[in-house]
């Protein structure tokens, strides 16, 4: 009956010590039994506050990572759309031969219309189409000589350069968020809330050699 008395809980109901019991000097009467209880409570409160602060800090960190992913995804979408638009423009402008025009138009159209699940495949196919059309320098020269071709080419060159950039930034954000979300504390306390588990955007974004040539002009 002495042994099952916890130091924190039952201090108020502490029975008077039995003078014959050998362990009597360890349990002094009244106040001193109450004090360890209060100290323990304080310590528990401090620990809870620390845990709370840590959890809220981690939740804030995660929140920031999620908004970083959103911004990166928006930027990636913008660059992909820009690339598809310029490609479609070139496909319909009549400056390329008919076969190349059709290939480019098809791929650009498919990339713009693709559902979310088919997006990666469609964008990769646009990359392949661009590479197929702009393999040789002569094709690029032909476009450049057409009226307005210089600007279109410049826009396309910028777009094919920025898509891999935006994709890398997006996937980097995804990786950082995943690393935090895999953490035990985050899983146990469900700090991520209802945010979907972030997915990397995987695609073939190799630019055409003729457009990526940084030594040209």
């Amino acid at each position: 009956m002495e042994t099952d008395r916890s130091p924190g809980g039952s201090s108020a109901r502490a029975s008077p010590p039995c003078p014959l019991h050998p362990r009597v000097e360890r349990a002094p009467p009244g106040g001193p039994v109450l004090w360890p209880g209060v100290t323990t409570l304080i310590w528990i409160a401090v620990a809870l506050v620390l845990v709370g602060v840590y959890l809220s800090w981690t939740a804030g960190r995660l929140d920031r990572l999620h908004s970083r992913i959103d911004a990166a995804r928006a930027a990636l979408d913008a660059q992909l759309l820009r690339r598809a638009s310029v490609a479609q423009e070139l496909g319909t402008a009549g400056v390329l031969d008919p076969a190349a025009s059709i290939v480019l138009y098809q791929a650009a159209h498919a990339a713009r219309q693709a559902e979310e699940e088919q997006r990666e495949v469609a964008e990769s196919e646009l990359s392949q189409a661009l590479r197929a059309v702009f393999t040789e320098g002569p094709q690029v020269e032909a476009v450049r000589e057409a009226p307005g071709g210089e600007e279109s080419l410049e826009e396309l060159a910028q777009a094919v350069r920025r898509v891999p950039m935006a994709r890398r930034f997006h996937n980097d954000a995804v990786r950082a968020a995943r690393a935090v979300r895999r953490h035990r504390v985050v899983r146990w306390f469900r700090l991520a809330g209802h945010a979907p588990f972030p997915l990397a955007f995987e695609m073939d974004d190799e630019p055409p050699v003729a457009l990526a040539d940084r030594t040209g002009h």
């Binding site: 960190r61 990572l65 959103d70 660059q79 350069r161 940084r214």
Partner: protein
């Protein structure tokens, strides 16, 4: 665009990162952007108008050498004030993993942050220990730039994630249009770098020199850089010491003229290089380059297409390659021409456009930079209530 750039190293001490930041800021200002650079500097140092001092850097032993760093409450407060007053669209932090202004700004800011990783330090114990502290700061960075494929690889191995590679920029026109000096021409080999720093490789070149002079006796070696000249030539036979000329520290103009004058530029560095800006400068000046086959150098030289490579620390290979080059004007002309074409990708016009593309990518769909108030107690309690 309003751009804030953070320099981690003292503005008073010249160095590669500082020059890069100065040139980048000047380039961006020429394009019409508003640029403010936050850098550690002494109060007496005259600063360009775009630089804001973050206080004096304190010399601290760090990572095996004495580094001049900024930390503490005062610096943190200055970083916050700079962020607040600048109201930047994007901030560009250099070397964010160094315990200096870069890391402080990473802690203090939120919004679009771009970071450039210059060095490729081997993973240090301090870094491993500080990883849990570094990670929350580094994960605020929206876009990472590595200065070479090599720097990117070490970054990925040490910190995870990915980076785009944008090389350091060089003002190609400045080097290409420099006037050669006649007294530095005619069978000359050039070397620029600290004399007393073995990493820069002058000892390797000194070991190779007897071999070169045996084949081509009239050759002169021109050395520009700080250090003990007596000690540098101590290993040479006395009769060969006259073939080495020390120019001491040279100005930017003289450096360009030296690179324009020499027949071969030799970069015998033995390690610790993540980029090799001097090679780009030599190529801009049309000098044929002969460099050790460090990863970073091989990449700058397009795997040997834009300049010759020799096995690192192999003085005999260096001597053989130098003799071959000195005796073959056609090959030198060819290398010079190839180098000139190759360096266009390092010109500020190209590099600056790429860096701006990164800024535009991260600012699209994001708010501007602000001081991160999340660490305040009030915000934390507010969050805790949710």
């Amino acid at each position: 665009m309003r751009i804030g750039i953070v320099c981690p190293y003292s503005w008073d001490v010249p160095g590669g990162v500082q020059f890069h930041i100065r040139d980048l800021a000047e380039h961006l200002i020429r394009l019409g952007h508003e640029v403010s650079v936050l850098a550690p500097a002494d109060d007496e140092t005259p600063l360009p108008p775009f630089v804001v001092s973050a206080g004096r850097a304190v010399p601290v032993p760090y990572n095996g050498s004495v580094a001049r760093l900024n930390f503490g409450f005062l610096s943190a407060a200055r970083v916050r004030r700079w962020l607040h007053e600048g109201d930047f669209d994007v901030i560009h932090i250099h070397e964010p993993a160094t315990p200096s202004l870069g890391l402080l700004s990473c802690w203090a800011a939120q919004g679009p942050i771009v970071a450039t990783f210059h060095t490729s330090n081997p993973r240090s114990r301090a870094m491993i220990a500080a990883y849990p502290i570094l990670q929350p700061a580094l994960e605020k960075i929206s876009a990472r730039i590595a200065v070479s494929e090599y720097a990117r690889r070490t970054l990925v191995e040490h910190l995870g994630g990915d980076a785009v590679v944008i090389p350091n920029g060089v003002d190609v026109g400045f080097f290409a249009s420099a006037e050669p000096r006649p007294e530095w021409q005619g069978g000359t080999i050039g070397f620029i770098g600290r004399i007393d720093e073995p990493r820069k490789g002058l000892p390797v070149l000194m070991r190779a020199l007897p071999g070169i002079l045996a084949e081509r006796p009239g050759t002169r070696l021109l050395v520009a850089g700080r250090g003990d000249e007596e000690e540098a030539v101590a290993g040479l036979p006395p009769e060969m010491r006259g073939n080495v000329e020390f120019l001491g520290m040279v100005s930017d103009e003289d450096k360009a003229r030296l690179l324009r004058s020499v027949d071969v530029y030799v970069a015998p560095n033995t390690g610790g290089e993540s980029f090799g800006i001097i090679l780009v400068e030599a190529m801009s000046a049309g000098a044929p380059v002969l460099a050790s086959d460090l990863d970073a150098f091989a990449q700058v030289l397009d795997q040997g297409a834009a300049g010759e490579l020799f096995a690192n620390e192999d003085a005999d290979a260096l001597a053989a390659a130098a003799v071959r080059l000195l005796g073959d004007p056609a090959r030198r002309a060819e290398l010079g021409e190839r180098g000139r074409r190759h360096v266009r990708r390092f010109d500020w016009a190209t590099v600056g456009a790429d860096i701006l593309a990164v800024y535009e990518t991260v600012t699209a769909g994001a708010a501007s930079v602000a001081a991160d108030e999340r660490t305040g107690l009030r915000a934390r309690l507010g969050l805790a209530r949710d």
